[in-house]
Amino acid sequence: MNLPALQSLTLGNGIPVSVMERHSAPLVELHLMYRCGTADDPDSKPGLASLTAAMMMEGAGARSALDLADAIDFLGARISVDASHHTTTVSLFTPVSRLDDALALLADIALRPTFPSAELERMRAERLTAMKQWKDQPRTIASVYCNRRVYGDAHPYGRPGIGNPKSLAAMRVEDIRAFHAQYINTANLNIIVAGDVASSALLSRLETYFGKLSKGPGSTPALPTVQQVKQRRIVIVDKPGAAQSEIRIVRVGPVRATPDYYALMVMNTLLGGSFSSRLNQNLREKNGYTYGARSSFAFRKGPGPFIAGAGVQTAVTDKALAEFMNELRAIREPASEEEILRAKNYVAYGYPQNFETVGGIAGEVEELVEHGLPSNYFSTFVPSILAVTADDVRRVAAQYVDPDAIEIIIVGDRKEIEYGVRALKLGDVKVISVEDALGYE
């Protein structure tokens, strides 16, 4: 695969800029990636990073929230600010012809947000309503409870990024201002650009907006330690009348920086990461229990979760769960060379597709920058995947997929599924309400 070179540049004040040119459409994607995120939320104020990110779009420079939205929409550009666990990214997608105008808006949003209190009240009401709506959504309930169950409310990976109704109700403009001042500043900033631009011309434009700023304080608190799941336990979240059961199986996985990364990609592909994976073939194609079954590792700075899951017909919840267990056991046995080769090829030779769009490229570069991967990472990815051996696959399965130490969570209709699930005798079964699962009324 011949990708354009990844260019590493620096602004006058030391801010690193990574550029990958792609000229197939006159478009540019530009990310301001700040090294702070929901993991930096104070324990007393979960949801602060996410709210700060959202509020950056609610007025900046001389523009009100409405004026700002109008200016962006008029350019045909898209700007958004999103906080994930360890990064907050201000993203711009624009036709290259309007990059100058869009950059001026982007700089206002990043550097000069105004945080009007009326907008905070509006945002608060919107988010409180969204959390109320979560009660209606079986898949959201499953996802929120998976994380709470494994990491707990005291760990940032255990909490929903937008916080909880109590913390949200207590949030003040001063909290947001303080978070922005401490974290969303040039000490934490990387700039990432992909698209139809020449890096030399781009650099002088970026200097204008970001090159003269002095660095702020910055800081990255350590993550709390995580306890691995030690036994098998089951929780049924009762959703009376549900047409399906959402099954999730979860435990703590490794960090992104693990040397096992490539082997895990291959192992998970054959377990539940592709259409012809074992979980999907068994639960969907062979048994017709589900529309799709899958598994994934969330690779983060800290140990992210391993989650396998599916939405299955209520009447076969127990049978489906038994098949999940069978596959989690079987993956620890040696796999055929053919199956491993297929998984390797799927991951390796499908890789170039990630670079089709400017947004896709920026996402890849952002991952590289966030995790400090070497600058030749893109060209070493394919050979690294192809070098994974059958022994590697078996070793990482044995190490990271332990069917005796998992949390099993089922969001479904208790009266229809509880008997069958208990009869499997997989472990202690507890039944809780949707409110218990979400952690609020």
């Binding site: 929409d73 008029f74 509006r122």
Partner: protein, 455 residues
């Protein structure tokens, strides 16, 4: 859907003046003796190629009592054919680093495979085998297996999703009972149970013939070699009978219909839907722009009033659902706690009246057009998957006769003036020809939108 899952020319100065952009995707088109339409497009920016196969059949070709069949059939297309054992379609593609999927809508069924360019011949073989020899390997067990998968898909996307039954209720009320848009592409559970092995054979023979299909190949290819490969793999498939035209009764609403559904939801939601002009016909682009002016962004009229200023609603959206036999335009608003759908409706109604009486501003129109223009540019980024260039070449060919309709498509938006938008709102968004659907939390029918007096 089965999973859950450039050469464009810029005229001089186009980059500096986006309004002069000419968006074009050069292609070569030819037709095999068996009637298969073929479209080739070269783009060497990545070592990737996509094969996109479009069959001109969808749920619009179904009969009452056999709904959901076109989509069920789409699933069966991955279950093996004469020379491809069950399960191997996906396995073989994944083994070369490929990806694939398919989707069905009322008007067509599409399939695509994205592969590294050195593996082009594999998807050509796989697609030709299932186009020519699907029923040779079809069994009742395969039909039953995919029937279960599709029922699970329906449970996941409709029955078990909040507000999931709304689209079904709207279709049923917008169209007369025998109109094929009156039923959903996913079909009814009863009809899915009724589908027989004989239905599969008949459907295949009638609709999955080369003369009812179009093959679009885009990416890192050379035209001459690719043409040779297409002739090799598809040339021998026999032509089918001509496909009968769809016999749909006229869709006309002559009254306002009000429907109330109860669902497992926390907040009530209002849907108002109208019948509007068919895809690419006059009025279609106007309705698309109106959807932006009403609900696209913070300054859009309904968003600003209901969500931003008054904060009586959690969200609002408006969409022109463009289709061949006619389109529908739907406004959707979720009420905040403590607000009824009647209250939401009267506020919404005020905004619609304003738009009918007085054209939007030039800036509103230009803002909408500028956003469409960028969405057109972004269509040139991907060659494969749903909505990539290969998919669009097929779509444009079947709906307009011109695969490279990119520029014309954008031009019809740019030709619209502010007066046209008011006129379109007056013509198509009538109060006396629409469906007003309220979805309310169980037991709370008092929150539904009731008929307002005096109009």
């Amino acid at each position: 859907m089965r999973h859950r899952l450039l050469l464009f020319f810029l005229l001089a100065g186009a980059v500096a003046h986006a309004q002069d952009l000419r968006i074009a995707v050069p292609y070569q088109r030819f037709v095999l003796p068996n009637g298969l339409n073929v479209i080739l497009h070269e783009d060497h920016s990545l070592p990737v190629v996509t094969v996109n196969l479009h069959f001109n059949v969808g749920s619009g070709n179904e009969k009452p009592g056999r709904t959901g069949f076109a989509h069920l059939f789409e699933h069966l297309m991955f279950e093996g054919s004469k020379n491809v054992p069950e399960g191997k379609f996906d396995e073989w593609l994944e083994a070369v680093g490929g990806d694939n999927n398919g989707s069905t809508n009322p008007d067509r069924t599409n399939y695509w495979e994205n592969v590294p360019s050195n593996a082009l011949e594999l998807p050509l073989f796989l697609d030709s085998d299932r186009m020519g020899f699907l029923v040779d390997a079809m069994t009742k067990e395969k039909v039953d297996g995919q029937r279960d998968v599709v029922k699970n898909e329906r449970r996941q996307s409709y029955e078990n999703a909040p507000y999931g039954m709304a689209s079904l209720a709207l279709a049923e009320n917008l169209y007369p009972a025998k109109h094929p848009y009156s039923w959903p592409t996913i079909g009814s559970m009863a009809d899915l149970s009724a589908a027989s092995f004989e239905d599969v054979v008949e459907f295949f023979r009638l609709y999955y013939a080369p003369n009812n299909a179009s093959l679009s190949i885009a990416g890192d290819i050379t035209l001459r070699d690719t043409r040779v490969l297409v002739e090799k793999w598809f040339g021998g498939i026999p032509k089918g009978r001509p496909v009968p035209p769809i016999d749909a009764p006229p869709a006309v609403l002559t009254e306002e219909k009000r429907v109330v559904l109860e669902d497992k939801v926390s907040l009530p939601r209002l849907y108002i839907a109208w019948l509007t002009p068919a895809v690419f016909s006059p009025g279609d682009a106007e309705m698309d722009l109106l959807s932006n002016i009403l609900a696209g962004g913070k300054n859009a009229r309904l968003y600003k009033k209901l969500v931003y200023d008054l904060q009586v609603a959690q969200d609002v959206s408006a969409t022109q659902g463009s289709a061949s036999l006619g389109s529908d335009f739907t406004i959707t608003v979720t009420a905040r706690e403590g607000h009824t759908l009647s209250e939401i409706e009267s506020l919404l109604q005020e905004e619609l009246e304003k738009l009918k009486q007085e054209p939007p501003t030039q800036r509103e129109l230009q803002r909408a057009i500028n956003q469409y223009e960028v969405s057109f540019l972004s269509r040139l980024e991907r060659i494969g998957g749903f909505g990539g260039k290969a998919d669009l070449l097929n779509h444009y060919y079947w709906r307009t006769g011109n695969p490279d309709y990119f520029h014309e498509d954008l031009a019809r938006y740019k030709a619209i003036g502010v007066e046209d938008l008011s006129a379109a709102a007056r013509t198509w968004l009538r109060d006396d020809a629409r469906v007003v659907l309220s979805i309310v939390p169980k037991g709370k029918t008092e929150l539904a939108a009731i008929k307002q007096g005096g109009k």
